[in-house]
Amino acid sequence: MEPFAAVSYVTVTLFGLFCLVPLWMIVAGSLTDESVLGLNGYSLFPQPFSLRAYELLFTGQSLLNGYIASLFITVVGTILSISCTAAIAWVIARRLPFISRPLTIFAYVPMLFNGGLVPFYLLVTQVLGLTNSWFAMILPLMLAPFLIFVTVSFFRQMPEEILDAARIDGAGELRIFFQIVLPLSKPILAVLGLFYAVTYWNEWFTGLLFLTDPDKFPLQLILQNLISNVTNAASLPSSAGAAMAPVYQLRFAMTVLTVGPILLAYPFAQRFFVKGITLGATKG
């Protein structure tokens, strides 16, 4: 093997470990008895092994509440996002006179200039009155101009003959979009869905701004509460004996359960992400 190849194997493997070790420490910590965590502050091996934190979380109410909130925001948000992104992208890609080009500029300008936090905050709280609503975490993220343009460039590669054939057969614009364009666009719809879904699942900034009712907190916000205030951790499993709660172990277990769904979906979804980035990088 050439020296450079050998160096590459070693370096890439080391970087891979660098990427995985923090994740492993969280998993190991969530399975380690509180006595050790309290002493060392971390754990590299689940020794002594303990499932106490998971037991508490699964019998308590806040994990369930967190999952319901996160799932609602992610599922409803992703569906809205994909539909609206695909629709507006198709109208732009159609190159309609007097419509497509103005619409392009209309969607492009916000990438250059935005109103900033305060007007946005006033809009959501004062004008739309979305305080303590999950929609305050869905609507602001509903469209990503960047993803619209990635979708436009995908739509524009669609073979014109198929569309023309449909038109000759008498299909209307709606029919063409729903029965021909969308079924042919499954790859890009998957890319959109995954990017939006991860964004919604990981979102916490809008929650920090607009949610005050702890019962409505999605998982990320529960975690945020755990790190900003350790004493909150004690109150987490409200049904169990709070005084004895393993606060450190709980923090790890909650983190594992928050990353968990992404970790599980990742092996299947990864190739779509690669496709999306590649599309975006070459066409964006």
Binding site: E2, F4, A5, S8, Y9, T11, V12, T13, F15, C19, L20, M25, I26, L37, G38, G41, Y42, C84, A87, I88, V91, L96, P97, I99, I105, A107, Y108, P110, L112, N114, G115, G116, L117, V118, P119, F120, L122, L123, L143, D164, R167, G170, G172, E173, L174, W204, Q220, L223, I227, S228, V230, R251, F252, T255, T258, V259, V274, I277, T278, A281
Partner: protein, 319 residues
């Protein structure tokens, strides 16, 4: 585009191009998106008038009295302005440089790994941090730097193994630009390498074959063929990054630093500053003024970046 079926007999149907009914249908299709842009992208721009007002909730956005440029003066006169502007640009430059370099090196090295499954596996592994949320990153960092409950942490334990003094990282502002840069490399190294790898696959095999015949080593090929051919991609990514330079990475920084004032001198960026003055002080006017200042300067950066990028690769620009 002009081939549209003739819709004889329909009212308003045109002979050429799209019938106005079809146009209307398509416009309806785009309507939810248009409405979203009006409310969430253009609405806040109107709301920027707050920056020129002495805002109070009772009188609302348009009812509050004007106060000219007082809000701007207040921010620019405060000692914070210079610090947060410097931090924003400095940290972004560090993040951009480090993550691009890491991505480039990783892509070159992944390209050397010939074994298919192992390479795919490593690619998945180093790409994964991109999907980890800022809050989770914050918890991981705590474990590594201070341990839960501030009892050491991994780094300090390693330090004590080699007989170095323990460091209380969360009270050590000088270290944080570098710590955050390492976090960014962790988060974005794999992601950036995917972009570079995509560019590498578009390089023709023949160039490498010719080099091989000439007896070039793999290292030589990486240095003299791959790197020069990746420069355009690198340049575009630099330009895009510079365009975003005035917008701090709020999520990651706030999730990690939280309200730990000790670290503000080196970690406070415009976005975190704005967020805090809104949440803690509730000073809408000044905060909006800072936001407007950021948007305007940011716009100059982005617009300049777009112009430069267009010169680099004409075909890739959006409009």
């Amino acid at each position: 585009m002009t081939v549209t079926k003739p819709r004889a007999g329909r009212t308003g149907a045109r002979r050429h191009g799209l019938s106005s009914r079809d146009s209307l249908v398509l416009l309806l299709l785009a309507l939810p998106g248009i409405a979203w842009f009006l409310v969430f992208a253009y609405g806040p721009m109107v709301g920027l008038v707050v920056a020129f007002k002495a805002f109070n909730i009772r009188d609302g956005i348009f009812g509050s009295p004007w106060n000219g440029l007082a809000n701007f003066r207040y921010f620019l006169m405060s000692g914070d302005a210079a610090t947060v502007v410097f931090n924003t640009v400095f940290l972004n430059a560090l993040f951009l440089g480090a993550s691009l370099l890491a991505g480039l090196v990783l892509a070159l090295m992944l390209n050397e790994i010939r074994g298919g499954p192992y390479r795919r596996f490593m690619q998945s592994v180093i790409f994964f941090p991109y999907f980890v949320s800022p809050i989770v990153i914050s918890i991981m960092l705590q474990v590594i730097l201070s341990g839960v409950g501030g009892r050491g942490g991994l780094v300090n334990n390693l330090l004590s193994v080699v007989d170095l003094p323990q460091v209380s990282w969360y009270t050590e502002p000088g270290a944080w630009p570098w710590i955050l840069t390492i976090v960014k490399v962790w988060q974005l190294g794999g992601y950036t390498s995917v972009i570079f790898l995509a560019a590498i696959t578009s390089i023709s095999e023949e160039v490498y074959e010719a080099a091989e015949i000439d007896g070039a080593s793999r290292w030589r090929m990486a240095l003299s063929i791959t790197v020069p051919l990746l420069l355009p991609t690198f340049a575009v990514l630099v330009v895009l990054g510079v365009g975003r330079m005035f917008f701090g990475d709020f999520a990651t920084i706030y999730a990690i630093v939280q309200d730990n004032g000790v670290l503000f001198p080196t970690t406070d960026v415009i976005d975190t500053y704005v967020f805090r003055s809104l949440r803690m002080i509730g000073d809408f006017g000044t905060t909006a003024a800072i936001g407007l200042f950021q948007s305007v300067v940011g716009f100059v950066f982005v617009a300049a970046a777009v112009l430069v990028q267009r010169r680099f690769q004409k075909e890739s620009s959006i409009l």
